[in-house]
């Protein structure tokens, strides 16, 4: 029987939208059941949100004080135990799922399928390799449970609202390690839309030149209601914090509109925006590789163009 356990991602008592995307991928397997597992110290509000996701059969909660922070070493033994009876365990391929998934797979003694883009069959998936320069079809052994992370940019979020799945508390009797401890989380607090789920994203690169100059990117993004991203070079140079990095080793995003400003278009950056609806590039170098993938290109100095854009809005 095909039964899928989806691991919920959450922070500060709120369900992360990546969970509903993982549920979409689970639905594509056409299983008999999709259960969502919420591991938290206070799971109720998160579970109530997860219960509304379309396609979810049940929401299971593991309430423990040790689950206050998402430490893979603490969560993995609980997930491995809860996985009994399931044919598949899915987690979003965010830093949360990337940290946790392989630890669960190893405890179960099975390989992990990373970054599932499409479901071709219950045990056949497509995933990117070589920074997205090749797409491989992989077949997992049907005799073993499948552990997979879901490339969130490839999947729409399952609708939230119509469903009201039952919520059940799990009594997972597992000894948890104390060798790994949470110290702190420094979050870039921002009133802007979330980079991973925003429909519009404006990104700046090394061409922006400094932390101070980045203000013009923020200002323009705010004008059009966009989230703000950046290239690795901009992060490395200290213009913006790391959580804004888009690309192979940053965030993989799929907004309807992506504007790359002062970004050359290195292959590792493009990996992060392959699924964007419309890519706009603004660069003073007409030969910049970003123009090879941009739907709309404009050659010129960003410091001149951005104010002009603002007045043309």
């Amino acid at each position: 029987m095909t039964k899928i356990l989806v691991i919920a991602e959450h922070l500060d008592g709120k369900l992360n939208p990546s969970t509903a995307r993982a549920v979409s991928a689970a639905a594509a397997v056409k299983p008999e059941a999709i259960d969502v597992l919420v591991l938290a110290d206070n799971a109720d509000a998160i579970a109530a949100e997860a219960a509304k996701i379309e396609g979810v059969t049940r929401v299971l909660t593991a309430n423990r004080t040790e689950n206050a922070h998402a430490l893979a070493a603490v969560l993995a033994p609980q997930v491995a135990k809860a996985a009994a009876g399931y044919s598949h365990v899915f987690a979003p391929s965010t830093t949360f799922g990337k940290d946790l998934g392989p630890r669960v797979a190893a405890l179960l003694g099975v390989p992990q399928v990373s970054d599932v883009m499409t479901v071709e069959g219950s045990h056949t998936f497509k995933r990117p390799v070589y920074a997205g320069n090749a797409i491989v079809t992989v077949e997992a052994d049907p005799a073993l449970p499948v552990v997979a992370t879901i490339r969130t940019a490839s999947w729409p979020a399952a609708a939230i609202g119509a469903n009201s799945a039952p919520v059940e508390a799990l009594g997972l009797d597992v000894a948890l390690p104390s060798h790994t401890r949470f110290v702190e989380l420094k979050q870039g607090k921002s009133d802007r839309p979330d980079l991973q789920s925003a429909s519009k994203v404006v990104s700046g690169g090394r061409g922006v030149g400094s932390k101070e100059n980045f203000e013009i990117i923020y200002k323009f993004a705010d004008r059009i209601g966009a989230a703000v991203g950046a290239s690795r070079a901009a992060v490395d140079a200290g213009y913006v914090p790391n959580e804004m990095q888009v690309g192979q080793t940053g965030k993989i995003i799929a907004p309807e509109l992506y504007m790359a400003i002062g970004i050359s278009g290195a292959i590792q950056h493009l990996t992060g925006i392959k699924d964007a609806g419309t890519i706009v590039a603004i660069n003073k170098d007409a030969e910049a590789p970003i123009f090879e993938v941009a739907d709309i290109g404009l050659v010129g100095d960003l410091f001149k163009i951005i104010p002009e854009l603002e007045s043309a809005l």
């Binding site: 992990q112 990373s114 090749a134 790391n242 043309a312």
Partner: protein, 248 residues
């Protein structure tokens, strides 16, 4: 303390990957191979810990074909004390790589294992987490800062929400992110010195690593191409085009 470092050879990150027309793989013949960038960072971090007196010995590990020797010599030239070469002609998947590392961990008893967060060929991002699970030890993935003191590692991790700091009792597994450090360049005299450093060769088969549960890769395809777009002449035309598409 001894540090074990994963040192994998991959297709250089500057190479434009071509998928073979018959879909059996990507073209690797005649393509430049280099150390996985995350593994150079792992080695650099280990060397810095040795230079600070936190570690005494840095051992690099490569799992791969017989011709990996030159690659391992580069790691030795960078400063590793010695290398372990686990020889296999087969492609090793992350679970098998993790089980292999576990065997070496049992033999070498390191205080720390540093791996790359992902290898840029398969982009699996699994081996470190799997090793930590099998070893039943802490994992600190995507590290951008590492401090070792009093038997524990305090590691800052690059996570989607920002920067998370965790404490991990040693021994532990750390996987590196790009901003952890900038690897040093290899100097010519060090290449000479590296020639006399030991490389221990271990037959993969002799380790008795449990096999099974492998993923079969049945097909390689090129990603769908984005078609070339249009160029606009000025800001006003850009805004007009975006408005027309309903994007503004």
């Amino acid at each position: 303390m001894k540090i074990l470092v994963g040192y994998k050879r991959v297709v250089d990150y500057n190479v434009r990957i071509q998928v073979k027309p018959d879909g059996t793989g990507v073209v690797t013949e005649g393509v430049k191979l280099s150390a996985n960038p995350f593994d150079d960072i792992a080695l650099e971090e280990a060397l810095r810990l040795r230079e600070k007196g936190v570690a005494e010995e840095v051992v690099i590990v490569g799992i791969g074909p017989a011709d990996l020797t030159a690659h391992l010599r580069n790691g030795l030239a960078m400063g590793a004390n010695r290398a372990i070469h686990v020889t296999t002609a087969e492609a090793i998947q992350p679970l098998t790589a993790a089980r292999t590392f576990l065997k070496l961990v049992e033999k070498e008893q390191p205080g720390l294992v540093i791996l790359g967060k992902q290898a840029i060929d398969d982009d699996a991002n699994q081996t470190g987490q799997m090793l930590a699970a099998l070893w039943d030890r802490p994992q600190a993935t995507f590290a951008s800062k590492v401090e070792i003191a009093e038997g524990k590692a305090t590691v800052t991790r690059e996570v989607d929400a920002g920067l998370e700091t965790i404490e991990a009792e040693l021994p532990a597994v750390i996987t590196t992110d790009l901003r952890l450090n900038e690897p040093r360049f290899i100097k010519l005299p060090d290449i000479m010195k590296a020639k006399s450093k030991p490389i221990e060769v271990i037959e993969f088969a002799s380790l008795g690593v449990e096999a099974g549960g492998h993923l079969k890769t049945t097909h390689y395809a090129a990603p769908p191409k984005r078609s070339k777009g249009v160029m606009v002449n000025d800001a006003a035309e850009l805004v007009a085009t975006l408005k027309q598409k309903g994007l503004l």
